[in-house]
């Protein structure tokens, strides 16, 4: 059997081998999560085999619009990204943090048991990998470490996929997050589909990836295979439906708090929070304390929250951000500007989900461009200096 010593030597496998590779992961106790068609969208769910993938489907996306469409081939990965992102696995939408029970004088707190599920993430795009890294920085990169995120992200296997096409709302090239998968994967595939030929170029990212690949049949990649794969990714690069000029974007947004464009976008924004739910990096949450009827057993739950809700900023005396304008401004300024101060990167990966899933087709790339066109100087009044 071939054993691959080099981490970056590429191999080529066919669909049968890919199925076998899924089997290898399952035999190593991984639960596989990957794309499948459900409710007329491509979502992440538990999968078993390549048959579960969105074979022969693609998606057509635009601002406020998402449609599945049949392809004229049997591509496994011939679509872009759906409404789900991997954050639902590492940072679940609803999660119990602890339980507490009271028996007379005794109070017993039970933390949630450590999550030991081994998760294999299948067909993960480059933007998604960057989003995971950004969320990991929020939950585990600072002074405090979120133990649940930490334990969930520890036992993962990532089978990434290079994009062979880009959607109308994609702009990862602007954010330097894709479409080529460059880091953070165990194995990365490029789907090569040409007439009768249906193969996958496999790049090896880690020793673990090499081990898993080694259990299935593969051949060494020829220079032509590499060339073909490169052209496939280049094709996606050339298809980006959107773009953002990120020059000076942190200062641009910071000094434009008073720009009237925020009023204009607020006229359209429904404050529905869809953008924050589909965003793969949005991390805001709230907690909910609940009790049973006896009053002696209580639980704390953490749930996704959104800066678009009124209550989000509530303090005694009222809500800080009462207007839709201020909430949209907070979201976009955080994503593209203050995130840099907080975590050293942008909070946007250019996946385009917020554009696609906005019910009124608000487009973050268009909003940045509009702010840039109407750039005003900062409106804060400096303090007068006394004697």
């Amino acid at each position: 059997m071939n054993f691959c010593n080099s981490n970056h030597a590429s191999k080529v496998i066919d669909r049968q081998a890919l199925d076998n590779l899924f089997g290898v992961l399952r035999s190593q106790s991984y639960t596989l999560f990957g794309p499948k068609v459900s409710d007329q969208a491509i979502v992440y769910d538990e999968i078993q085999a390549t048959d579960d993938l969105p074979i022969g489907w693609t998606d057509e996306q635009d601002a406020g619009s998402y449609r599945l469409k049949k392809r004229d081939d049997q591509a496994l990965f011939g679509y872009v990204v759906g409404p789900h992102s991997l954050k639902k696995y590492l940072f679940p939408p609803a999660q119990r943090l602890w339980q507490v029970s009271r028996d007379g004088e005794q109070i017993k707190l039970s933390p949630e048991p450590e999550d030991v599920v081994k998760r294999a993430f299948i067909a993960i795009r480059s933007c998604e990998l960057h989003a995971m890294a950004i969320q990991a920085q929020v939950f585990t990169g600072g002074e405090f470490v979120d133990s649940t995120y930490d334990s969930r992200s520890r036992n993962t296997f990532t089978l990434a996929v290079n994009c062979g096409q880009a959607g109308n709302t994609c702009f990862c090239t602007s954010m330097n997050t894709g479409p080529e998968v460059t880091a953070g994967f165990d194995l990365a595939l490029t789907e090569i589909l040409d007439g009768a030929r249906h193969e996958f170029l496999v790049e090896i990212g880690t020793e673990l990836g090499a081990e898993v690949l080694n259990a299935v049949d593969f051949r060494d990649a020829e220079p032509e295979d590499q060339q073909t794969a490169k052209e496939i990714v280049n094709r996606a690069t050339g298809q980006m439906g959107r773009s953002v000029d990120t020059t000076d974007i942190k200062d641009l947004l910071t000094r434009n708090h008073g720009n009237t464009r925020w009023d204009e976008v607020a006229e359209r924004c429904l404050s529905c929070a869809n953008c924050t739910m589909v965003c793969p990096t949005c991390f805001c949450s709230t907690v909910e304390d609940v009790t049973d009827l006896s009053g002696d057993n209580a639980e704390r739950w953490r749930r996704w929250d959104s800066c678009f809700t009124m209550d989000f900023s509530y303090i005694a005396g009222g809500n800080v951000r009462t207007s839709t304008k201020s909430r949209y401004r907070q979201w976009m300024t955080h994503k593209l500007a203050t995130w840099h101060d907080q975590f050293g990167t942008s909070g946007c990966v250019g996946c385009g989900r917020c554009i696609t899933w906005c019910p009124v087709a608000i487009d973050i790339t268009e909003e940045v461009a509009a702010i840039r066109r109407t750039d005003v100087a900062g409106a804060t009044e400096p303090l007068k200096r006394g004697a």
């Binding site: 949450s285 304390d289 009790t291 009053g295 989000f312 800080v320």
Partner: protein, 287 residues
């Protein structure tokens, strides 16, 4: 218990999202809507250390959790003191707690008043309403180390006579010969023959050296804005002014996103900020 298990238990307890249990020693009424909660570590032997200006997350069984600044003496390690205004479901439930009841505590969190940096300088404390509570630990510290500081000024404004917090202590402090303590109320109803008006009116005439002053401010944002302006007018540099900010908070450790204030997280970058660090964003509406 093996060493390994012990290590694990320590690690679980170190999780910042998990409360530890404290017992209510006493619930003291301060004013018609404020009260002070004295908490002791459950087993009686525990010690709690904090820096003046920090806060705890307090959990009432089954009701919920709120951020409350610590308002006791930092030199006291056995009892943790919080002064609370009963304004919501959780704080109203806290007011009904009785001696012996248990409260979940996470903390202490956040930044502190710069009591060390202020050594050798004049201290000017300006507070409004319940803003006196998070400043009391700093004031206790200054009193306990009185010789480390030059002039000490405490300016306090309350809504009415009946809203004056820590009345007995204010009287005591006002009686000290080496402290300048001024109290004013916004509106005079009933029997009040003291100062009426905003707290900032004391600033132009208070005794302190603007070039060698550390100012500590906590109160409603509008009060802080006018206070800062009055201090700057006197010649105090914005880097020598420190303010304590408030925003919604769910986690206190930077995960929940609620307390964002521009690029700052109030919970971990604040609540106490050097004013020069937030000068650019302070006062922006709905930020």
């Amino acid at each position: 218990m093996s060493t390994l298990e012990f290590t694990k238990e320590q690690m679980v307890l170190a999780d910042p999202m998990l409360p530890t249990w404290f017992r209510v020693q006493c619930v003291r009424r301060e004013t018609h809507d404020t009260f002070t909660l004295d908490l002791a570590c459950q087993d009686g032997g525990g010690r709690f250390s904090f820096a003046p200006g920090q806060f705890n997350m307090l959990y009432v069984f089954g009701v919920g959790e709120v951020p409350i600044s610590i308002s006791g003496d930092p030199a006291t390690k056995e009892i943790v003191v919080h002064t609370i205004r009963a304004v919501g479901a959780v704080t109203r439930a806290m007011r009904n707690l009785k001696r012996g009841d248990q409260v979940g505590v996470r903390g202490p969190f956040g930044s502190a008043w710069p009591v060390k940096e202020a050594v050798g300088r004049d201290i000017v404390i300006v507070t409004g309403g319940i803003g006196l509570a998070p400043l009391r630990p700093a004031f206790y510290h200054v009193l306990a180390h009185r010789n480390d500081y030059n002039r000490v000024v405490l300016l306090y404004g309350a809504r009415t006579r009946d809203d004056i917090l820590y009345r007995d202590e204010l009287k005591l402090w006002r009686g000290e010969l080496d402290l300048e303590v001024e109290v004013t109320v916004d509106s005079s109803v009933g029997r009040w023959r003291g100062n009426v008006g905003v707290v900032t009116k004391f600033i132009p005439r208070a005794e302190f050296d603007p070039g060698n002053t550390t100012a500590l401010i906590c109160g409603p944002e509008v009060m802080m804005r006018f206070t800062i302006q009055a201090l700057v007018d006197r010649g105090v540099e914005t880097r020598d002014i420190h303010v304590s900010m408030e925003r919604n908070m769910k986690c206190a450790v930077g995960f929940c996103g609620h307390c964002q204030y521009g690029s700052k997280f109030i919970c971990k970058d604040g609540p106490v900020f050097r004013f020069s660090e937030i000068e650019d964003i302070f006062g922006i509406r709905e930020l």
